[in-house]
C-alpha cells in the first residue's frame, strides 16, 4: 500500500510540474503574445478584446489556477484559429490518433514478443551482430522517411492501401484499416527493431537462473519451461517495454499523421503551432503528456502486482 501511495504522490507531483512548465513556457514568449497571435494588422480594440477573452489582463497565478481548473473540467477555452472550444477540437481528432497508436502497439507486441523468444533460443555470433545492427538501424531511421518508403513500396503497389486521408471505423472497417495499417506499421517497425532485444535479454537472464536448471533437470518439456515458467518471470522487463513504447508510439503518431495526412491530434498540434494558436497548443501538449505519465504510473502499479518484491525497494 505504501508503495502505491508513494507512486501516486510522485504521479501527482510530476503532473503538477508538467502543468507548471506547460503554462510557464508560454509566459516567456518574447513580446506580447496577443500581438504575436493576431499579427501586425491588428488594431488596439482587437488586441484588448482578445486579451480580455484569454484572461491575460489578470494576475498570473489566477490565470494558472483557471487553466488547471479547465484541465479537469475539460474547458480549456476557445481555440483562436478555429473559434471552437479546445476540448471539442480534441475530441474530434482523438479517434484517429487513438486508432493509429493502438494498432501500432498491437503490432509491436505481437511481433516483438515472439521475435524476442525466437532469437533468445538461437544464439550465435552472426545473429548477434545482425540483431544489433537491426536495432541501431531502427533507432537511426526517421519515421517520416520510413513512412514514405512504405508508401512507395507497399502503398503504391497494392490497391487496398490508401496513402492519405482517413475513413472512420463506423463507415467501413476495411476502409479504416486501409488508411491505418501503413501508418501503424511505420510507427511499429522501428519499435520492434529496438524492443525485441529487451525481450530477448530478459528471457536469456531468466534462462541462466537456478530454477530453470531445476525444472529442466526434472524433465519438463522445453515448451512448458519456456511458456509457463520463463515467460511468466520475464514479464517485468516486458511490461517496462510496454511503458516505454506507449510514450514513443504516441510521439511517433504525431509525426506519422503528417506523412499520411491523417486528421489526428498530431496534425491539429502542428496546425495550431503554425497559426500560433497558443491555448490549443497548451491544451494538446498537456493532455498528451498527462496520458503518457498516467500510463507509466499504471505500469508502475502493475509491476508491484506481478512482482510484490518491488514494493520493498
Amino acid at each position: 500500500m505504501l508503495y502505491i501511495i508513494r507512486r501516486l504522490v510522485l504521479f501527482i507531483v510530476t503532473v503538477a510540474l508538467v502543468s507548471i512548465i506547460t503554462f510557464g513556457v508560454f509566459q516567456i514568449l518574447p513580446g506580447d503574445p496577443v500581438k504575436t497571435m493576431l499579427g501586425t494588422e491588428a488594431d488596439e480594440v482587437q488586441i484588448e478584446s482578445l486579451r480580455k477573452e484569454l484572461g491575460l489582463d489578470r494576475p498570473l497565478h489566477e490565470q494558472y489556477m483557471d487553466w488547471v481548473q479547465g484541465l479537469f473540467t475539460g474547458d480549456l477555452g476557445n481555440s483562436i484559429r478555429f473559434s471552437m472550444p479546445v476540448s471539442d477540437l480534441l475530441m474530434d481528432r482523438l479517434p484517429v490518433t487513438l486508432s493509429v497508436a493502438s494498432l501500432a502497439l498491437v503490432i509491436v507486441l505481437f511481433v516483438a514478443l515472439p521475435l524476442g523468444i525466437f532469437v533468445a533460443k538461437r544464439q550465435n555470433k552472426l545473429s548477434d551482430v545482425l540483431l544489433s545492427s537491426a536495432t541501431q538501424l531502427g533507432m537511426a531511421i526517421p519515421s517520416f522517411w520510413l513512412g514514405m518508403i512504405l508508401i512507395i513500396y507497399i502503398g503504391m503497389n497494392f490497391d487496398f492501401f490508401k496513402i492519405n486521408g482517413y475513413v472512420p471505423w463506423s463507415e467501413s472497417i476495411a476502409g479504416a484499416l486501409s488508411t491505418l495499417v501503413l501508418p501503424a506499421l511505420t510507427i511499429a517497425i522501428p519499435q520492434i527493431a529496438v524492443k525485441f532485444r529487451y525481450v530477448r535479454t530478459s528471457i536469456l537472464e531468466q534462462m541462466q537462473l537456478d530454477y530453470v536448471r531445476t525444472i529442466r533437470s526434472k524433465g519438463l518439456p522445453e515448451k512448458i519451461v519456456m511458456y509457463k515458467h520463463i515467460l511468466k518471470n520475464s514479464m517485468i522487463p516486458i511490461l517496462t517495454i510496454f511503458g516505454l513504447i506507449t510514450a514513443e508510439v504516441v510521439a511517433g503518431t504525431i509525426i506519422v499523421e503528417q506523412v499520411f495526412a491523417l486528421p489526428g491530434v498530431g496534425q491539429l498540434l502542428i496546425t495550431s503551432i503554425s497559426y500560433r494558436d497558443f491555448p490549443l497548443v497548451q491544451g494538446i501538449v498537456m493532455y498528451i503528456t498527462v496520458t503518457v505519465v498516467f500510463i507509466n504510473f499504471v505500469v508502475d502499479i502493475l509491476y508491484s502486482v506481478i512482482d510484490p518484491r518491488i514494493r520493498l525497494r
Binding site: D128, S143, W145, M148, I152, Q258, V281
Partner: protein, 272 residues
C-alpha cells in the same frame, strides 16, 4: 565476440562520421552545382551521370544540396550538445554535489521535463521560440539537458565521498573548484557518451521538426525540409526521397555506432 562487434561499431561509425564531416568541410568551399541555381527545364530528373541524386522540383542539383545540408545538421547537433552539456553538467553537478533539497528540487524538475514525450516538448518549445537554426537548437538543447544532468548527477554522487575529494576539502579547496577541477574529469567519460547520444537524437529531431515545417526554414538547407518537399512528388519521383532520407539515417546510425563503441571502451562493465 564482443570485441568483434565493438570493433565493427568503432570502425564503421568512425568512417561514417569522418565521411560526413569531410563532406561538410568541402561543402563550404565547393559544391558540384550552385545550390540555389534553378534550372526549371531540368526539374525532377531522376539520378543520372550529371546529377547523381537527380534534381529537385526547381531543377537544383540534389547532391549539392545534400552536401550543404550537412552543415545545418552538424551546426544544430553541435549547438544542442553545447547547451545540453553546459546546463546539464551544471544542474546535475550541483544537485549531486550539494544533495538535500537542492538535489530533490533540481531532479524533480528534470524528471518533469523527461515526462514529456521528446517531440511534444520540442514542438512546444519551437512554438514559443519560433523556427530557425538557432531557435531549433535552443529547443533541442533544453530537451538534451535532463538526460545529461542525470548522468552527471550520478557521477558526482559517486565521487563526492571519494578520498581525493575529502582530501581536497580538508586542505580548503573551494567547492566549485572541487566540482569542476577534481570531480568533473572523473565523470567525463559518462558525460561524453551521453553527449554523443544527445548529438544523434538532436540530428533526428532537427530533421523531424524541419520535415514538419517548424524547424530550419528555407533558404537554410535541411535534409528534413528536403523530405517535406520531396513528399509532394512521391508518386512521380520516389527517388527524390532517397538521398535526404538516406543521409539522415546513415549519419545518425554512425553516431549511434560510435557512441556504443565509446561506451564499451570507456566503461567495459556496461555492455548492453
Amino acid at each position: 565476440m564482443k570485441r568483434y562487434a565493438k570493433n565493427i561499431n568503432l570502425v564503421v561509425g568512425s568512417i561514417i562520421i569522418f565521411g560526413f564531416f569531410l563532406m561538410m568541410i568541402v561543402s563550404f568551399f565547393y559544391t558540384p552545382y550552385d545550390v540555389t541555381a534553378m534550372d526549371i527545364p531540368n526539374k525532377l530528373k531522376a539520378p543520372n551521370t550529371e546529377h547523381i541524386f537527380g534534381t529537385d522540383e526547381f531543377g537544383r542539383d540534389i547532391f549539392s544540396r545534400i552536401l550543404v545540408g550537412s552543415q545545418t545538421a552538424f551546426i544544430v547537433g553541435l549547438l544542442t550538445v553545447i547547451i545540453g552539456v553546459v546546463f546539464g553538467v551544471t544542474i546535475g553537478g550541483i544537485a549531486g554535489f550539494i544533495g538535500g533539497w537542492v538535489d530533490e528540487l533540481f531532479m524533480r524538475l528534470m524528471d518533469a521535463l523527461m515526462a514529456f514525450p521528446g517531440i511534444i516538448l520540442a514542438l512546444m518549445l519551437v512554438a514559443v521560440f519560433g523556427p530557425g537554426i538557432v531557435n531549433t537548437s535552443i529547443a533541442l538543447g533544453i530537451i538534451a539537458i535532463p538526460n545529461i544532468a542525470r548522468v552527471a548527477r550520478s557521477g558526482f554522487v559517486q565521487h563526492k565521498e571519494a578520498e581525493y575529494v575529502m582530501a581536497a576539502r580538508l586542505i580548503g579547496v573551494k567547492p566549485l573548484k572541487i566540482m569542476f577541477k577534481h570531480i568533473l574529469p572523473n565523470v567525463s567519460s559518462q558525460i561524453i557518451v551521453a553527449a554523443s547520444i544527445a548529438f544523434a537524437i538532436a540530428m533526428l529531431a532537427e530533421a523531424a521538426l524541419s520535415y514538419l515545417g517548424l524547424g530550419v526554414q528555407p533558404p537554410d538547407p535541411s535534409w528534413g525540409r528536403m523530405l517535406k518537399d520531396a513528399q509532394a512528388y512521391l508518386i512521380g519521383s520516389p527517388w527524390y526521397t532517397y538521398a535526404p532520407g538516406g543521409a539522415i539515417t546513415i549519419l545518425v546510425l554512425g553516431l549511434y555506432m560510435l557512441s556504443n563503441a565509446i561506451r564499451d571502451i570507456m566503461d567495459p562493465r556496461s555492455k548492453a
